[in-house]
């Protein structure tokens, strides 16, 4: 059974193998709605918006305090590359996506499910096997041609997050150097046991440009597949363990 809803400005898909009720799907989607309600910087009434406008003072929820602490921790883990500060405002959305997928997976496990996946805007946590009893087969999208996949990986109990852009990278404006030829990367996919880590480190490593893949290589348990603007892919040492 598979359902998709548009929440947090992106399609969220849940597929459960075996007996699943509509209540299971409702629980997951309602969880994402609650997350959106609290963390959306696009919603003026969200807790994060009220923090940013100063309306909330210091009366943050415990969960918000926890998430912002996770953001600080991630900033330290990534040498400052992961930063939720935009001038005077905070935007934790770069962490909240992976964190909430991870929590939603816990929710489904608690409801007794052992084979499922949750995908939100291209970030995926898998659990168990697909309906054929095989690992889930996941395609990595071609950043230059969005209807195409350029790599197929197999996941069972692991996760993948992709950071990148589907616009051509050849006209890059660097505020320090002005216009210059492309040195950036088109997409970076990070695979690992948990979508929380895969997502936050994919986001930070993408911001590092070409060095990002080395950063992923330096992290235990995480593997990466980087596609540069010339269509060359660079993968970490053990990424091939996931290749289908």
């Amino acid at each position: 059974m598979k359902q998709t809803r548009l929440i947090m400005g992106m399609p969220i898909t849940v597929e459960v193998v075996g007996d699943a009720s509509t209540h299971d799907f409702k629980a997951v989607f309602n969880y994402f709605r609650a997350v959106d309600h609290r963390y959306s910087t696009y919603k003026p009434a969200s807790e994060i918006s009220r923090i940013n406008t100063g309306q909330l003072g210091a009366a943050w929820s415990d969960e918000m305090a926890h998430v912002l602490e996770l953001c600080e921790e991630t900033k330290r883990d990534t040498n400052g590359y992961f930063d939720i500060r935009r001038g005077n405002t905070l935007d934790p959305s770069g962490l909240v996506k992976g964190w909430s997928i991870s929590n939603a997976a816990v929710l489904l496990r608690k409801r007794g499910h052992r084979s499922f996946y949750i995908e939100a805007g291209g970030d995926i946590q898998t659990e168990g096997k697909n309906e054929d009893g095989e690992p889930w087969r996941v395609g990595i999208r071609n950043p230059f041609q969005i209807d195409e996949v350029v790599k197929i990986i197999q996941l069972s109990g692991s996760a993948v997050a992709t950071s990148g852009t589907y616009i051509r990278g050849e006209h890059i404006y660097n505020p320090h150097d002005g216009y210059k030829p492309a040195t950036a990367i088109a997409s970076l996919s990070v695979v690992g046991p948990s979508i929380y880590d895969a997502d936050r480190f994919a986001t930070a490593a993408f911001a590092m440009g070409r060095q990002g893949i080395h950063f992923i290589e330096s992290l235990p348990d995480l593997e990466g597949y980087m596609i540069d603007t010339e269509g060359m892919a660079t993968m970490t040492s053990y990424f091939d363990r996931y290749i289908a």
Partner: protein
């Protein structure tokens, strides 16, 4: 209601643009200006398809003023994206990326020992059959749409 229609229009234009972009391949070493369709290809994927067809003209209501209109800078989570819409004959003919999130002030300690272990390959289109899920980025394209929307609004009211 009008806003919804304008928003819908922008999304349709974006999709049309995406389809049009599919026929182009990245070229490296060009400096910023407008982007024109190119025939030199990626080492793999696109060549495999042998797609050398002429890109279809992007669809548009044709109600825009001619010229180049710069959109607002939009937040893509790890940096900003800013695009300019190029209007010719009342239609959106090109989009130039002015700002792209790839810079950072902080330097990062990199495990250089890892370097020789990394493997490289040219990307290649895979058989999409038997895939259950697709991983790809989304939020940059949202910021892209946001910046393009403001550029097109300027083109409309110019």
């Amino acid at each position: 209601m009008k806003k919804v229609l304008v928003g819908l229009g922008v999304i349709i234009i974006f999709i049309a643009y995406s389809l049009w972009v599919r026929h182009e391949q990245p070229k490296v070493g060009t400096v910023a200006s407008t982007v024109s369709p190119t025939t030199n290809g990626l080492p793999s994927a696109t060549n495999n398809n042998g797609s050398s067809t002429t890109p279809p003209p992007p669809t548009s209501s044709g109600s825009y003023k001619n010229g180049t209109f710069t959109g607002d800078s939009a937040d893509a989570s790890y940096g900003n994206i800013q695009v300019a819409a190029i209007i010719s004959g009342g239609k959106l003919v090109d989009v130039t990326v002015l700002q792209y999130p790839n810079s950072h002030d902080t330097s990062v300690a990199i495990n250089q020992q890892a370097l020789p272990m990394l493997k490289q390959e040219a990307i290649q289109a895979q058989d999409p059959n038997n895939i259950q899920i697709i991983s790809g980025a989304t939020f940059t394209s949202q910021a892209f749409i946001q910046s393009l929307t403001t550029a097109l609004n300027k083109a409309q009211s110019a």
